[in-house]
């Protein structure tokens, strides 16, 4: 576990991408395949299904350190992370263990996660006594299922590609989908040897950047394919034949979060069965209200309608009678078993339309994403403004017609963009842009604050905002982000001087600070005290110019809800 802990510390300490990639590369060059498989599993953000109960970790730590529980709570408040708090409190730890990572996972972590509380506590105490100080922290994070380190998927892909000496895009493909922490899976990834389940892997998703500049900066509108930006689940439908000798053709539905969601949407799998083998479509899964059952037209519902589906294991048909599920296809990545991602979007779109005509014309569930044809950027702007009310969309997608289907957010040269007759393509060529509608916004008053965790431990950064319900402020939304570091510090100082009470770690704050809170959607919710739930609330601006009395009221927010209900 020494090299893995070292890797964690190196990644944690560095702000430089090049250093991080070098550290990862260094690790994988020297790790045994069994260790590397586990390291890759954890670096990719995976965790075990079971996690150690907070109670067991806390009680064991209290026992060993002879610390009263209230003092551990105080420490936790200062640190913001239980695994770290415990690691800092434990005595000793001068001598780290050189037991390999995979052994620690198989012999210590897995048994511990399956043990009864009392046995788990004994095993935990024993493990801590053998681990070094930094190792304990990493070990605790793995047990708690919240091991996170500041590397994204692309960095891991780059580093592994360098170790395997292959193109990063190829490595990205090999790493998409679920990666199992086994030696065999790791060796397959590194050697590229075909595997049983390779055929079920999606392509890395092509992501769009947020458009902040005026759209005119993108040049001629004719160069751009314009679609709605749907508010659903981004997904790829894979229709492929299993490797010889099985030969069976199967369908897989992958979400952008690399979750296999085929079983949650059986109607999509059914509809995709009419696709020819060797087809991969990219699109959006949406909840849909048909004008009448079975009618071809209809309207997208908001994301909330989809959410009920996601957490179900066995989907009952009754759930999709009136309101259905659809897949809006907007791209094709594989056609006739050929990867066509580097063809320009305009060509891929032709293939997609043809395929849809031939195989999906009768399948209401898989729809072709409509292309919008505004004549000018101002016309496009008008479509964007009404996207929510017209279509329940979040705005527009702007995709360069020459763009390749690149990996992630990176801008990748489309084949044509550097051609002789187009010597200076716009800086955005190859890029995809999301041009979102301005979010809903409400002015609300900060009423509770809590110290943040991780990077913001010890600073008051978790805020609850209230809106006026008569004379009182009723909690409306919580938000964690949106302020810059200076603002966070100033708000933190103001919270300290305006504290009127405490409820555990939560400070009750005198109404004084007004913020403009943005959010994406709004719906009625009996579980929230205000009766209203919003999605992705965040601070848009600190309204230092406003007084608490200027904040919005429950009535004004209810009116907003009434205007935007499905």
């Amino acid at each position: 576990m020494l090299p893995f802990t070292r890797l964690f510390l190196d990644l944690d300490q560095s702000n430089r991408t090049s250093e991080k990639v070098a550290a990862i590369e260094q690790y994988f060059r020297h790790a045994s395949p069994a260790d590397a498989a586990h390291a890759l599993y954890f670096l990719s953000g995976n965790r075990f299904k079971r996690v150690l109960k907070t109670k067991v970790m806390v009680q064991t730590a209290l026992l060993i350190t002879k610390t009263p529980e209230w003092l551990l709570d105080e420490c936790y408040e200062a640190v913001g992370d239980l695994s770290e708090t415990v690691a800092l409190l434990l005595p000793g730890g001068e001598t780290p263990t050189d037991t390999p990572l995979h052994t620690i996972v198989d012999r210590w972590i897995r048994p511990l996660l399956h043990a009864e509380d009392a046995a788990a506590s004994d095993q935990l105490a024993l493990a801590w006594s053998k681990l070094g100080r930094d190792q304990r922290f990493v070990f605790n994070k793995l047990l708690r299922g919240n091991f996170r380190v500041g590397v994204n998927r692309r960095l891991v892909q780059r580093a592994l590609a360098a170790v395997a000496d292959i193109d990063p895009a190829v490595m990205a493909h090999r790493l998409s989908g679920k990666v199992e922490p086994t030696e065999a899976a790791y060796l397959r990834i590194m050697s590229g040897g075909t595997s049983e389940d390779d055929f079920s892997r999606p392509y890395p998703f092509c992501l769009a950047n947020q458009l902040n500049d005026p759209p005119q900066s993108l040049g001629d509108i004719a160069d751009w394919q314009i679609e709605y930006k749907w508010d659903g689940i981004r997904a790829q439908i894979l229709r492929r034949a299993a490797p010889h000798p099985d030969g069976r053709v199967t369908t897989h539905l992958w979400s952008r979060g690399d979750e296999l969601i085929t079983d949650q949407f059986p109607e999509l799998a059914l509809a995709a069965a009419s696709l020819p083998p060797g087809t991969v479509l990219d699109g959006e899964v949406l909840a849909w209200r048909h004008t009448s059952p079975g009618a071809p037209d209809g309207r997208a519902l908001s994301f909330n309608a989809l959410q009920t589906r996601l957490n179900r294991k066995n989907v009952q048909p009754s759930l999709f009678d009136a309101d259905g599920i659809v897949f809006i296809a907007f791209d094709i990545l594989e056609h006739e078993a050929r990867d066509i991602r580097d063809q320009p979007l305009s060509a891929r779109r032709l293939v997609l339309e043809q395929l849809h005509r031939r195989h999906l014309a009768s399948a209401e569930v898989i729809k072709l994403a409509p292309i919008l044809t505004p004549r000018s950027w101002p016309d496009a702007g008008a479509l964007r403004t009404t996207a929510r009310t017209d279509r329940n969309a979040e705005g527009l997608m702007l995709k360069h017609r020459q763009s390749a289907y690149h990996v992630g957010r990176g801008v990748i040269r489309a084949r044509e963009s550097a051609s002789a007759d187009n010597p200076s393509p716009p800086k955005s060529a190859g890029g995809w842009w999301k041009w979102k509608i301005d979010p809903f916004s409400v002015d609300a008053v900060l009423i509770y604050a809590q110290p943040g965790s991780g990077k913001r431990a010890g600073l008051f950064t978790d805020y609850t905002f209230g809106i006026w319900d008569g004379e009182a402020l009723t909690p409306f939304a919580k938000a964690y982000s949106g302020l810059d570091n200076d603002e966070i510090k100033r708000v933190d100082a103001l919270i300290r001087v305006n504290t009127t009470g405490r409820m555990g770690p939560v400070r009750v704050v005198r109404p004084a600070l007004v913020f403009e809170i943005g959010f994406e959607t709004i719906r009625a919710s009996p579980r929230h005290r205000s009766g209203i739930a919003v999605r992705f609330p965040r601070i848009l601006r600190w309204r230092e110019d406003k007084k608490p009395a200027d904040a919005d009221t429950l009535d004004s927010v209810r009116a907003l809800l009434a205007r935007h209900t499905d």
């Binding site: 990077k455 913001r456 570091n485």
Partner: protein
């Protein structure tokens, strides 16, 4: 101001701690007539008092920071002085050069105010840049609590310096200039005394030059560490370790010294013990080195005083008070401070904190450098 609740020698007032029998304040945060000052950090020494008394070795740094012409008297450690109806003496606190605990005796009662203090490590080399902490027996002890939680337990400083040296060497290999951000008074000199000058050239920000001289005058040997001026830049780029107050981070002054592959920055502070604090700073590395006592040090010092009453101020007041009452059976009580510093580090800009943020006089870019 509420009347003193009992016969306490020292009482909290809106101006800071006040001794009525001696008619003086200790570390006032507003200008008063007579101030006895434990040390020159800005949350302990305020400008504008009529007269100051501090330790003899503490006079120079205090003079650097108070208004020009301030009346400052020095008292050698261990000598006592009659002030009003009290006998006052100063005793080393081990925080920085000249930092003092203040012992006040009145009618057989003894009160000791710790100021900021650092107890010596049990089994490792002490900080040689200041007089080591000496416990003073007393009835009432008023202690700081900056790091008054058991998550704060310091490792020997030799380990931190080994880490800093290794990082500096690596930076040289990478062609990066090494910047260490440390509080200008005390921490900067402790770092200088601890790093390995054989690795490469060392230089300091303008705000540190004068303070280094004060340390040298007090007989504390520091490695050669000239002012990091533009003329030296060719020799420093990519090789040197440069020490600067945290406020110098991101200023144009830094740019003169950027190495072929940039710079690498670190903050040296006890707060670096916690990962979140390390990570939210825009720095490359955080090294744990504090001039305050850790949890074990605080408890050791409190026991050594033999005090039956203990006031807790500056830091994690509530947890330490509760621990002393419940676990040590000591009559402990909170002593309010303007520096509510539950997290000293995060004080608002007009309340600079000793451990991390520099005093206002550090905050401008190097005054001797054109911008």
């Amino acid at each position: 101001m509420p009347p003193a609740p009992d016969a306490d020698l020292v009482v909290p007032t809106p101006d800071g701690l006040y001794c009525r029998a001696g008619r003086f304040h200790v570390d006032p945060w507003r200008p008063v007539a007579h101030a006895i000052v434990t040390h020159a950090h800005s949350d302990h020494a305020c400008r504008g008092c009529e007269r100051y008394l501090t330790s003899s070795t503490g006079v120079f740094p205090l003079r650097e920071r108070m208004l020009p012409g301030a009346s400052i008297d020095g008292l050698p450690f261990g000598q006592s002085l009659t002030i009003g109806d009290t006998r006052v003496s100063l005793h080393p606190a081990g925080h920085i050069l000249g930092s003092a605990q203040i012992r006040i005796e009145h009618r057989g009662q003894v009160c000791v105010i710790s100021g900021d203090y650092k107890t010596p490590p049990r089994s490792a080399a002490p900080d040689r840049t200041c007089e080591p902490f000496e416990p003073v027996r007393c009835n009432v002890f008023i202690t700081e609590s900056t790091f008054g939680l058991p998550i704060y337990r310091w490792r020997p400083q030799s380990e931190t310096f080994a880490d800093i040296n290794a990082w500096w060497r690596q930076n040289q290999l990478d062609g990066r200039t090494t910047f260490v951000f440390a509080y200008a008074l005390g921490k900067a000199q402790r770092v200088l005394a601890g790093i390995d000058p054989a690795i490469g050239p060392i230089a300091v920000h303008g705000a540190i030059v004068g303070l280094n001289r004060a340390y040298a005058d007090a007989g504390i040997a520091l490695p050669p560490s000239p002012h990091a001026a533009a003329a030296l830049a060719p020799d420093l780029r990519g090789r040197a370790l440069i020490i600067a107050p945290p406020s110098a981070a991101g200023t144009p002054w830094i740019r003169k010294f950027v190495g072929p592959d940039g710079i690498s920055t670190a903050l040296v502070s006890g707060w670096m013990q916690v990962r979140g604090t390390r990570r939210r700073r825009a720095i490359d590395r955080g090294f744990i080195l504090s001039d305050h006592s850790d949890w074990d040090g605080l408890l050791w010092a409190i026991r050594e005083t033999g005090a039956s009453r203990v006031g807790v101020t500056h830091g994690f007041i509530e947890p330490l008070v509760r621990w002393l009452r419940e676990r040590e059976r000591i009559d402990a009580f909170p002593v309010p401070t303007k520096y509510e510093g539950e997290r000293v580090e995060e004080s608002s800009p007009d309340e600079p904190a000793a451990e991390v943020d520099p005093a206002p006089d550090d905050s401008s870019p190097d005054p001797t450098e054109p911008a």
